[in-house]
Subunit: 261 residues, 2 copies
């Protein structure tokens, strides 16, 4: 099977113009099929502040009300997505930006919860495999903004890590799929205060031990749970590390590899 | 040859939620291949006001400075484009939104002028016929935001009427192409104050006479020049009228038809 890389970048790269440009040059150089999934960044919050739209928080989670959804749609699907696409085109990577609504690429429903109303947040039901395959076979690199739709006219804010995972699972029958989750650290660390304590490989047994010993904690837990879900769903390899080291992450000389056995 | 309709809508429809929804239902019902090109609307100006970004005007023309480009990218390519796509999907029209940067759909260059700096405004050089044909053959209806790119990383604001014209010319060898320019009036009027004085058909001779007699003046002149350029470039038919009457415009029972002989 042909190789496919699904690479997720977050705010730490998106908010830094120079870092983003270097990352996109590295991404453009990848010869294999590739999909980029981007999150948001500070711009959406800055916009909301400038427009005096208060950010609602319930139990520590940001709520996507209708005004926030409007800003998120503008910033993620408009500004960030189209600037990434235009830059990739300048590096001779034939990129094309999508939300889940475009070509019905990713369909889902508004999240329901017995006590919390998360607002316009979507859970994924369906990935349009045919559409994504057609793009990839034409050597088009898809750039996903973290917005899906419900096929009833609603756009919905969705976590970019989850989008990468769901796309990865959906395409794993057609491609030898790797997911690369990039973030601000070099990988999963044995010691959170020591950037050089990257754990090279984590399987499910190691994960359970590290979680029990609280070496892995807080934000790292959902990231790794996400990785194991992807692997169980057919994804071949998940790699976690710094976006600045993209080629090393792919060659296995940097970052943490999450494996299934 | 198969028929293709390229339909342009402007601010008078985009700014009216109910009218937009009715229009999109009519658009979704069209059985033929179809492309929608949308302009902006009041939202971009409202956003600029809210964020205290002054609108620069030179000789009566709005200048797209870098802050304005940012807003235009957010509002046109993000908010308006994705809401139109999501609505069309809900009406079972498989829509997919593009700027010129996506898949290198429309490439151009920053406008140069000996005395006026228009800022980030683009003139079209190239339409990616293969890409658009592939979408149309998959029964995907493209929704274009009025933004192109220069293949060197710059996004550029571009007139939606011109985008419709250039796409029309580019696709006229592959499809029997009609362009429908919608605006706030029923068509080209003999008497600007009488909405029922629609001129049914205008050819180039009639146009020259009507222009000389100043029946056609001001904003109508560039619209009609645009129409004749499209016809000379191979477009079969150009129709001008109200978006609310889409099916009548297409069947020839409303609006003004511009023809080449």
């Amino acid at each position: 099977m042909e190789k496919l890389y699904i690479i997720k970048i977050g705010g730490n790269i998106i908010d830094d113009e120079e870092k983003l440009s270097f990352f996109l040059q590295d991404f453009a150089k990848l010869k294999e099929k590739k999909i980029l999934v981007h999150g948001g960044g500070k711009l959406a919050t800055q916009m909301a502040d400038k427009m005096n739209i208060p950010q609602q928080m319930i139990q520590g989670r940001r709520i996507t009300d209708s005004e926030t959804l409007r800003i998120v749609t503008m910033v993620y699907a408009g500004y960030i997505n189209k600037n990434i696409v235009a830059q990739l085109q300048s590096f001779n990577c034939n990129a094309l930006g999508l939300t889940g609504a475009d070509g019905n690429a990713i369909q889902g429903h508004k999240r329901t919860h017995s006590t919390i109303d998360y607002g316009f947040v979507g859970d994924i039901e369906f990935v349009n495999i045919d559409l994504l395959q057609q793009f990839l076979m034409q050597n088009i690199s898809i750039v996903f903004a973290p917005i899906i739709h419900d096929k009833a006219g609603l756009l919905l804010n969705t976590n970019a890590d989850t989008i990468a995972q769901e796309i990865g699972k959906a395409l794993s029958n057609s491609f030898e799929t790797s997911i690369i989750y990039t973030f601000e650290k070099k990988g999963v660390l044995m010691d959170a205060n020591n950037e050089d304590s990257v754990i090279e490989i984590i399987d499910i047994n190691t994960y359970n031990i590290l979680k029990e010993k609280e070496v892995i904690f807080e934000g790292m837990i959902p990231k790794l749970e996400n990785a194991f879900t992807a692997l169980t769903g057919g994804v071949k390899k998940v790699i976690i590390g710094k976006a600045e080291k993209l080629s090393e992450l792919i060659s296995g000389t940097a970052g943490t590899q999450i494996i299934n056995d």
